[in-house]
Symmetry: D2
Subunit: 336 residues, 4 copies
């Protein structure tokens, strides 16, 4: 059960509300976000929802039978749209493209990419400065200094930044230089990281785990929301299966299901999904028709020289074609 509270609920009214919940053996979790105050109440007793809904200080009340509560569409029918400022919005009714290299490599690469994005009117640049790598001996990213460089050029050109955060201690130093914090597939069940990201006022893009269920993805988002951060995007990036003729099984089934179950925006990552450069466009357009609110794609001026993921990275010409076709496809979907 989700109880939305009046901003100015009195101490007495709150106590009375909690008393009523205790009386029906419900546990409650107070949640305060950027936008609102809630009580998330969990229990099994049957009761008259109107009785609680009519209490002083209660703005609205909804039953939510799912395991996840605050991210469910059962209480919030209107989809969440995340406003990054400067008219950059993510969510239903908008279409977003986040493009850039797998790893931030050096200043020239940032400049090239920013110029490419500006030319194509793409508003959000992706690029990793902390890289999760299978081997401890691989390149692990340029770190905070790379991020500052990344920020300098994006800021100067009106481009928003999305980049991955791997651990709690990285959050604070990154905050001034990012617009969206990304949680990678390997950290999708790193609950301490999720808790911490819930206490930050930056949007979070949360990738589905390498073999994460849709239920787990929504529960991970619940961690962030219940800690106070409502600005969450869900990202399908491919799951692990027996099939080996591509990198990951991009699971487009997840798109309509996530859109039906949750009010949060859903982004598709076709690059890590199919993982084969020449098929990234087909999977992107398919993802859009499946209902995605945006794409996150890997783009590099010279994919064959990229530090990582070159085999799935588009060059600038391929990327331009993708941007145009994506918009045409999105337009068709909105008109249908």
């Amino acid at each position: 059960m989700i109880i939305q509270l009046d901003k100015n609920i009195s101490t007495t009214a709150l106590a009375e509300l909690k008393h009523n919940l205790e009386a029906i053996q419900y546990k409650y979790n107070p949640v305060t976000t950027q936008f609102q105050d809630y009580l998330v109440a969990i229990g099994k007793t049957d009761f008259d929802i109107r009785k609680i809904g009519q209490l002083e200080g209660v703005k609205d009340i909804h039953r939510v039978s799912d395991g996840y509560k605050l991210v469910s569409k059962k209480w919030k029918v209107q989809d969440t749209v995340i406003d990054l400022g400067d008219a950059v919005k993510i969510g239903t009714g908008h279409f977003s493209i986040m493009a850039g290299p797998c790893s931030i490599e050096n200043e020239a690469q940032i400049e090239d990419t920013v110029a490419h994005l500006v030319k194509n009117n793409i508003k959000i640049m992706r690029g990793g400065v902390y890289k999760p790598r299978s081997s401890p001996y691989s390149f692990r990213g340029l770190g905070i200094d790379g991020l500052k460089l990344f920020y300098k050029h994006c800021r100067a050109n009106g481009i928003k930044i999305i980049t991955e955060v791997m651990q709690v201690s990285q959050i604070e130093p990154m905050l001034d230089y990012v617009d969206i914090l990304q949680v990678g597939a390997r950290n999708s069940l790193n609950f301490n990281l999720l808790d911490a990201l819930g206490q930050v006022d930056k949007p979070v893009l949360l990738k589905r785990g390498i073999s994460g269920t849709i239920e787990e993805l929504l529960s991970a988002a619940e961690y962030i929301f219940s800690n106070g951060n409502e600005r969450i995007m869900l990202c399908e990036r491919g799951i692990r299966s027996f099939e080996k003729s591509y990198r990951n099984t991009l699971d487009l089934n997840a798109i309509p299901i996530l859109k039906a179950k949750s009010h949060l925006p859903v982004i598709v990552d076709p690059s890590h999904g199919i993982g084969i450069r020449k098929h990234v466009e087909a999977m992107s357009l398919a993802g859009i028709m499946a209902g995605a609110d945006g794409l996150i794609v890997e783009v590099h001026s010279q994919p064959e020289k990229a530090f990582s993921d070159g085999q799935q990275t588009l060059n600038f010409m391929e990327a331009e074609r993708l941007y145009q076709r994506s918009l045409q496809t999105f337009d068709l979907r909105e008109q249908l």
Copy 2:
């Protein structure tokens, strides 16, 4: 290696060709289809392909490094288009919809469905008369009598028929009443059935196995082709994964990969894929943008009363919307 032979290759020339293949330790399999004569030669020795290509009676010659040979795009760059007659064609450049119930139930149901298809200009009706069922105690279909009824109404209305064949002994009696024979996911590696279907001059729609790899699907098609039948369609219908919030993981990644590897048409089955009625449309449109040549969808006048698969079957109104949107999406794809 695929060697296309002249239709009138002389016995001497053929003997000479075989002699040359033996000399380089290649095994060869003669293949005669509706359209052409081939030798499929397999071996490891390195040799000068021109030497064999220039022999008398050799029309063309191609190296094919894949495990499957005749269904590979490596020798046949121009995609296969299957002509069912009456201007009904399946393959690149055409868009096909096959619609109808999971099971043929009775004459009234056939009549209703045919009227619905005629109204919407859909040219191919699906419907099972032999049903593979998990339990031996479930309804197993109306059999050959059901097929004759099915045929009577379709024939009278210019509708083509696709229906599943489950075993070799069913093929012969079915031949006069079908336009396309379908091999179901459970029989995708039933090699004796595939052999037999290769000896028949009817198009075959071959579904990917329940957890079949893309390589296995192409090898299964090779069974049919190498037995003499070139008219094969490949069908993605969802694979088995750990995810349980939908029926099967419709693997749209398979679409661009199959289109790149093979010259055969590729059809998507969103009904068995995601398996949830309200999401069938999204997955259909996504499949089209991924590059599919057609859809096979379950449609019923009253899905909630269907003998089987009701939860994933569209009613006529939903189906009409799907047909229209599918065509609009296909049109966009062709214009991009």
Copy 3:
């Protein structure tokens, strides 16, 4: 619900029984096996089981809530033991080893293997004469002539034969030359083959599908039993997963679960399971401790020269060690 009938139930009593089932809206399927007559009744109404149990001609009656009925342990608590004659028995309390090559290749190979088995007191020889192969161009086995050779040498030495049957039309010609008919993983949902094997009085070893669920395996066995053949063995042979450091994920979890759910014997195939020669022994012994009633293993005098599956086939020395250790492990398990 399973109703065991008296062998001499009168027509009147049978009619009365059916009448009673119809009265409570139950459908019934008469099943006559080598051993007994049954009615398998399926329905949803609640009713007093004693009322039917006390009818004339009813020997025993049991509710079975599983989807599969006759193969369930819910009505037949005492495990099935299959008697092949000559004191060769398979099932709880006995331990069986079936060993031999993947494919029957020639007479010398049969003679070598038979001598090896006789020396080690192994009573059942495996060997394929019909081989399911991914590619239509691969060796597909020696067929019925190979089987006759196989039979000649086994018969002369008191060895029983297990070999794979791939299609209905092969059954009849094979019957005189086999002791156990094997259904391979690719045919585990070939329902027509299962139906036909239910009408034969030969034991059947049924392999779990390549990605078959335990429920599907039991339902496949139900096909055989409900057609009249009670002598069925279940075989775990590895499932398909994302892991690629071995051939298949031999799923030993299936062993205790199958033994708890069903009264049928359970055999483990470690050769196709892990698929790596040096690890076959470890997985065999593990399978025994998990509760298996026997092993089916690939053995060849010269694995490196085997026509197929050499990488997972034991040589005679390795096999002898396996036989001894398997028996020691089985002895320990029985004493615990």
Copy 4:
């Protein structure tokens, strides 16, 4: 390539060695552990290994072609045995049982369990004080205070403690109260946590990811080792598959493969594996015959009242039977 260095290698000799590696374009990573100094060198050039092996200060040198290096058996043929003190050793030749509740709940529960372990001569107690939970609203463990209680009773009774650590900031406060730090399946690719655990002189038990490959597990262990900690155990706890008749697919195939590829001890977790109380024993004994060096099992005085995982937790009587049978099985394995 792994180069073991003399403890007293001179600065000149080290410089000379590095110079030689640079000359053949090898990158090197200095690694200093509790026991030894290494250079892990990575490159592709072919060279004469003896030339480097004979340099001053080089104790030994080995080529290791695997992606993981220090945890590979290719350079360290003798298996790692981890000594916890008081004659408690883990690794080849020893058999270890770690038993206890999923979660530490209260002092009475600890006392009960410790008494049970002492009675059965079990030397290591498991119990979670930080619990990774799908829902943010579930019980997350008693934290550091619970650990101190846990420690008090174990210490007093000569029992070693293994417990899960979820994030870097927890390590330091836990150090004085644990004997083994456990990394859970959800954190198996949390590289920052692995880095940090490499800098601590406590043994680490590393669980395979929920759908982690064997290669990923070994690479995760490489993170810990290359940061300086050689005392690592690998733990198989079940992977995610399509099968739903048990909790996870306990992958016993991983046991012989890990033992063949790595010198590290391998532990099996049958409780999270099959996840069904009555089948835990069968999977434990199977795991032992597959080659495991030990078990980690969930045990509780009243499983039905446990805060978490009750359905897979043994009661004390079941646990005693398991301990005895495990030892008998281990004894047989060692004698074979």
